[in-house]
């Protein structure tokens, strides 16, 4: 039989590991799922999304949670039952034009989610920097001793969240806008500020299927290849938010019957976004739909070779 030449790459770099109790992110030393070069048998982490305010949350997604989406703690627990490894909570309700969830309320919700599920939590605010900083501060203090991910730091707004995370032993989520150099720049800013590399997770913006996924897929691959080739400033776990799939008109449209069942379609839209994310290097996937999250977990297990 013909001998196949060895195609194993000799990488010099390895992705940092961040432990959230038993749940560990990162650690890869080869391209995703390639057992012949990536010695790590660890599948990507599935983070189920929970929000504190359903105003802008798609109804089609809400219907899939059987009423439990009305209470973030019960909702998070449902994610645990579905098989999620982590909870990603967003606080759109903290915006002043919404119900105005206070930082203390937010911290209470995170605490109760953590106590109820025992799962690690990622906290993303409402997108308004001042409010998000205060949420991070309250959550950071309330969760001292239980490592959470505090988000999202950006190029011009990272000091407060970073300081809170350093003084309470948490990790930060470093956001950058679809560009390997910006992603690296963020990690340099954070480490210069004093955040340890093993406390950084990076979010290079996962564009959804049909919404620029091609850019994200290649940015992710380039980030991971550079990290494995020794660029220390890119050797941190990658977070990919796949929920953008629910913003795509083609994914959810019910106007055109020739596109087929919308619930199945949007599940695939998000699951395929997640598949592209994990084949290009994602270590943590934020998921919205329970069906998509389940498919993603099963495929991730199979690709990793663990179950």
């Amino acid at each position: 039989m013909a001998e196949i030449p060895s195609v194993k790459e000799k990488y010099t770099g390895k992705i940092e590991e961040i432990a959230f109790g038993n749940c560990i992110a990162g650690g890869a030393d080869g391209m995703p799922f390639l057992s012949f070069e990536n010695t790590l048998k660890r599948r990507p982490i599935i983070a189920g999304e929970v929000v504190d305010d359903l105003t802008d949350y798609p109804e089609m997604a809400a219907e899939m949670f059987d009423g439990r989406q009305k209470d973030p703690v019960g909702w998070a627990n449902m994610w645990k039952e579905i098989g999620a490894d982590m909870i990603c909570i967003r606080f759109p309700g903290a915006a002043p034009d919404k119900k105005g969830t206070s930082p203390e309320d937010a911290a209470g919700i995170v605490r109760r989610i953590s106590d109820k599920t025992g799962l690690p939590v990622m906290v993303i605010g409402c997108g308004i920097a001042d409010i998000d900083n205060r949420i991070a501060e309250a959550v950071g203090g309330a969760m001292k001793g239980t490592k959470v991910i505090l988000g999202r730091t950006e190029e011009h707004e990272y000091k407060k969240i970073s300081a809170v995370s350093m003084s309470n032993g948490h990790a930060v989520l470093a956001f950058s806008n679809l560009d390997i150099n910006l992603a690296k720049q963020m990690n340099i800013l954070l480490t210069d500020f004093g955040v340890e590399r093993n406390s950084i997770t990076m979010d290079p913006l996962m564009a959804a299927l049909g919404m620029g996924l091609d850019y994200s897929y290649s940015v992710n691959e380039r980030i991971r290849l550079a990290a494995l080739s020794g660029d220390r400033m890119l050797q941190v776990p990658m977070v990919c938010d796949c929920t953008g799939a629910w913003d795509v008109a083609d994914a959810m449209s019910t106007d055109d019957p020739s596109l087929g069942d919308a619930k199945h379609r949007v599940a695939w839209w998000e699951a395929m976004t997640a598949l592209a994310a994990m084949l290009s290097g994602a270590d943590i996937l934020i998921m919205r739909g329970p069906g998509a999250a389940d498919m993603t977990r099963v495929y991730a297990e199979e690709l990793t070779g663990v179950s």
């Binding site: 030449p5 195609v7 897929y217 083609d250 495929y299 690709l303 070779g305």
Partner: protein, 442 residues
């Protein structure tokens, strides 16, 4: 692929210009970029020529299925990652027609496959091929079915059977249409290869693993057939990802010829089949044959294929046009932005989120984003006003015009030119819903 210097060493180095290039080095650089053929040099020695054709041959063969304008090309890939260079030939998708279908059942089936078609970003997505599968076990029935499908389906065909007699019978009817024969295996390989050679058709090889695929492709080549497509026998996602990666790396980086052919997968239908196809589409598959594909599976899968196979250096663009969003009326606001598809989709999604009807005017900026287009002089008040004129949007509504926040400085000049109130919008698309709501509540 050899470098320009490697090519240069083998050239006569006389700078005679007979190849049309000023110097041998210039010619060598074209060769390295696959923009010239070795035969363009009339003075090259036979030994050099042999050496050069070997290194100039692409690491993966390009295989054509079908004929004429509907022919599908597969393979010809030269890189591992799409950021290095554009992937050349996108993954083809085939659906199955079993040869026990007849008459109306058969035409209904083909009609159903043809109707699996979508329009996205100005591109039509559809199934590329039909695989006629020999479930009857009867060569004559198989050939009849192939003929019947051919009369109704204008795109390429796959003849799916490991029965040499059935393939031979079918090729007698439709061999000149260059169907893919699928396939050959360890037992029938030489006989299938002879048929492929006789009819000039590409041959799909069904192997058990990487090693047997390499052996079988070498046997086929020895039998005189080189237009091959390899099925590595991957039954699951992990093997598909790993074995496809090994094959592609071996071909591209190690110049390992026995695996330098397009890869294919035969899947069934349903969720797992679609997941296999998604992995194969991202990781080096050139053809996936399904039993069946639902439209809610096909649209996301074909969108994934479009994303993976776009040229990373050429942005996807949408058509310059006026896009009414949410049934806008005669007082609805007008927004405008560039034709970079990512900008368009993001802005569109955010407008939809606001639930406020808007006239969205897309301006052709050759795919550049807002700031880049403005800097390049392709997104200026003159141009915008011209496009407004062309679409007649100003006569459809008396609503205000909203300028993208990033190019707020064009608002004064634009207001002057169109004689309509111009407001400055948000810097970021995600703030559009909030801005629109504030605007309409005033």
């Amino acid at each position: 692929m050899a470098t320009a210097i490697e090519f240069f060493k083998l050239l006569p180095k006389t700078n005679c210009k007979d190849c049309g290039q000023p110097t041998c080095l210039a010619f060598a650089m074209l060769l390295a970029n696959q923009k010239a053929k070795i035969d363009d040099c009339p003075h090259i020695s036979q030994e050099s020529k042999t050496a050069l054709s070997e290194s100039a041959a692409p690491p993966m063969r390009t295989v054509t299925v079908g004929t004429g304008k509907n022919a599908v090309e597969m393979g010809g890939e030269t890189v591992l990652y799409r950021h290095e260079r554009r992937f050349v030939n996108q993954t083809a998708y085939a659906l199955t027609v079993c040869d026990d279908l007849k008459g109306k059942a058969l035409s209904d089936r083909i009609e159903a496959i043809s109707s699996l078609s979508f329009e996205r970003v100005g591109v039509t997505f559809a199934a590329d091929m039909i695989s006629v599968k020999n479930v009857s076990g009867d060569p004559v029935i198989f050939a009849e079915a192939a003929k019947a499908v051919f009369s109704l389906w204008k795109k390429p065909l796959i003849l799916e059977s490991d029965d040499v007699d059935a393939i031979e019978e079918a090729l007698e009817c439709i061999g000149k249409m260059r169907p893919l024969i699928y396939g050959a295996n360890a037992v029938n390989l030489e006989r299938m290869a002879a048929l492929a050679k006789k009819h000039g058709c590409p041959l799909g090889i069904r192997a058990d693993d990487l090693g047997s695929a390499a052996d079988l492709s070498a046997r086929a080549k020895a039998a005189g057939t080189e237009d091959l497509v390899l099925d590595l026998g991957c039954s699951g996602l992990k093997r598909c990802l790993e074995d496809h990666t090994v094959a592609r790396r071996a071909a591209v980086k190690k110049k390992f010829k026995p695996l330098g052919y397009p890869l294919m997968n035969r899947v069934g239908s349903g969720e797992y089949a679609v997941a296999m196809a998604a992995v194969s589409t991202m990781k080096y598959g050139s053809l996936v044959i399904f039993d069946n594909l639902e439209s809610y599976e096909a649209l996301p899968l074909m969108t994934l294929r479009q994303n993976i196979y776009t040229d990373p250096q050429v942005p996807i663009q949408v058509k310059q046009a006026l896009y009414p969003i949410g049934n806008p009326g005669e007082h609805s606001p007008i927004m405008f932005t560039t034709n970079f598809s990512l900008t368009y989709f993001t802005v569109r999604a955010d407008i939809e989120k606001s639930r406020i009807p808007v006239w969205l005017q897309i301006v052709n900026t050759e795919g550049l984003s807002v700031l880049t287009a403005y800097a390049a002089g392709k997104f200026e008040p003159e141009k915008v006003s011209e496009v407004f004129e062309e679409s007649g949007v100003l006569s459809k509504t008396d609503g205000p015009v909203i300028v993208p926040g990033l190019v707020a400085r064009m608002s004064g000049r634009l207001e002057e030119m169109i004689g309509r109130k111009v407001l400055v919008g948000t810097n970021e698309s995600k703030q559009i819903p909030k801005h629109l709501k504030e605007l309409t509540s005033q």
